[in-house]
Amino acid sequence: MNIHEYQAAEILQQYGIPINAGIVCDSADAAADAAQKIGGKVVIKAQVHSGGRGKAGGVKLAEGPDDARKVASEILGIDISGHIVNMVLVAPAVDIQREVYLGAVIDRDGRGVTVMASAEGGVDIEEVARDTPEKIHTETAHPHLGLRDYQCRRLAFKLGLEGKQVGGFAKIAKAVFKAFTEKDAGLCEINPLIINGDGEWQAIDSKITIDDNALYRQKAAEELRDLREENEIEVQARAHGISFVKLDGNIGCMVNGAGLSMATMDAVKFQGGEPANFLDVGGGASADQVTLALNLVLAEPDVKAVLINIFGGITRCDVVAQGLLEAMGKIDVKVPFVIRLIGTNQAEGQKLLADAGITVVERMDEAAKQVVAAAEGAA
């Protein structure tokens, strides 16, 4: 789950990390007021769940209240990689003596949490990782003991820090790790982390993502969710245990299981079609789930045909067929659809559908071929 920059900064502040605190505004006037309150130069930053804000014109400086109003009005409402800017953060412009990168991530290869730092702060860290990997220094936390103090100091020394900067950085690195683990983050980074004009450390831009699997124990994080940032249908689906991801094609897909869903999309593509969505209806595939799933798929006006691909393993095909029939009785399906249903009690399931006048395809590639043809015919 993604949260906004200002929310991430507030979390890090709870862990004792000095941040460049600002004021969140949803209008140009509010931004002007905020600039007035803060005084002096301010930086105005789009609050959207997307990277590349700077390049997209989502981060700008303003000289004072009037300028802040003008700049905020320019930023509010723009589209950054598909995300509309609803809010801006107005914060004091800071004097930067030095900037570094600091972040904690899940290290899949090491099966642990790795804290990374680089003297190349304020730039795209993935570019640094690709072009000059030697400039990224890492410390892997012990799986049970966590990140030890000496590791935090070692990172500081590798960045070339000296004197009291070492202890200051080490404390922040430790706090970032603590925030990461206590908040069940998937990523927790500060970029840039700076030394300001007063020689003090300050987090300028913070980013935190939360492990979806851990939301049950991260109630506070759940409250940070900004539904405006998420696809309405995806949100509705999640609420019912369905995994749904909107895509750009015109062939709706409804499948059970994540891997099979992806494989089904791949099969559609292989036949020359474009999937309109990823949809994993889950293990149960009850009539209610199927009804909801079909509604989700059909909610998208672009959908020209639907492919239903169910492997009845533990869920018996006759039960799935009944669910499908029940769902179709409730929904007015206006586009052609292809059903592929195999697995346990396959014959019974297929018979139920056949009795209702629905043809069932046996092979997945054949089903993909038919649905692509149907979509083309419908288009």
């Binding site: 899949r108 993935e126 799986p143 492990d211 099979l260 992806m262 999309m265 292989f270």
Partner: protein, 290 residues
């Protein structure tokens, strides 16, 4: 022969009185798996499909000599269940549970490894050695005993491929679903190694998906260690970057973990990679004919 589970398996079911645990215990018993015990705190004395229930794993192991455990407890309690099984001396632990927090798995992964035990999963369908032991949630009847070893990160997609293999007359020595989460106990390499050393296994199917670099690392391992013919498939060729496709592991970010990169790596290691899932059995049939 076979790998990991067979008729010597003495299976313990953790979370046996829950909806999933109870249902699948029935399915496993019906398949012929030797399910010797179940555990549910406070469940002592109960009986689930003829399987006696205990309060703790240590009690169950003491009383029944269980040597393998399968876990169906809800996600918030899964890590504790794995610790309990490990501490009770179980050497093979299969965690079916979906939705286990990644940080829980960080601690668990290293703990199980240090104890010299093996964890499969979490968020996996389990594994099966057809005709001997079904330890998981897969539909047993689609399997047939034979020369193909199968390892997969997926659930239903695995059944799809197994079904096709069986219909093509290609039975399986064992089929292992390792799960699609970012941190899993047993990865492709571990299972490929077992299949390579299993005399019964003549060929291997590997089903990967987007995200992470497990398939690339497996390719490196295959190049140097696997001599048996292999057919592969990577799901998610059409998935857009940055989006989570059901499995937590299936996110492509920063150009890493794309299907294209994985397919390239596997092909370079001599694996025949199918364009679609349906093609896996066809290619394997050709391979086996040679």
């Amino acid at each position: 022969m076979s790998i990991l589970v067979n008729n010597q398996t003495r299976l313990l079911v953790q979370g046996i009185t829950g909806r999933e645990g109870s249902f699948h215990t029935g399915q496993m018993v019906e398949y012929g798996t030797n399910v010797v015990a179940g555990v549910t705190p406070g469940g002592l004395g109960k009986d689930v499909h003829g399987v006696p229930v205990f309060n703790t794993v240590s009690d169950a192991v003491e009383k029944t000599d269980a040597n393998t455990s399968i876990i169906y407890v809800p996600a918030p309690f899964a890590a504790d269940a794995i610790y309990e099984a490990t501490d009770a001396g179980i050497k093979l632990i299969i965690c079916i549970t979906e939705g286990v927090p990644t940080l829980d798995m960080v601690g668990v992964y290293h703990y199980v490894k240090q104890a010299g035990a093996r964890l499969i999963g979490p968020n996996c369908p389990g594994l099966i050695t057809p005709g001997e032991a079904k330890v998981g949630i897969m539909p047993g009847y689609i399997h047939d005993r034979g020369p193909v070893g199968l390892v997969s990160r997926s659930g239903t997609l695995t059944y799809e491929v197994v079904n096709a293999l069986t219909q093509a007359g290609l039975g399986q020595s064992s089929a292992v679903g390792i799960g699609g989460d970012p941190i899993i106990g047993t990865n492709f390499i571990d299972v490929l190694d077992l299949f390579q050393n299993d005399p019964e296994t003549e060929a291997i199917v590997m089903i990967g998906e987007i995200g992470g670099s497990d398939e690339e690392q497996a390719a490196e391992f295959i190049k140097n260690n696997v001599t048996k013919p292999m057919v592969g498939f990577i799901a998610g060729q059409t998935a857009p970057p940055g989006k989570r496709m059901g499995h937590a592991g299936a996110i492509i970010s920063g150009g890493e973990g794309t299907a294209a990169a994985k397919i390239k790596a596997l092909e370079a290691a001599g694996v025949k990679v199918a364009d679609t899932a349906a093609g896996v059995a066809d290619i394997m049939a050709q391979q086996m004919k040679r």
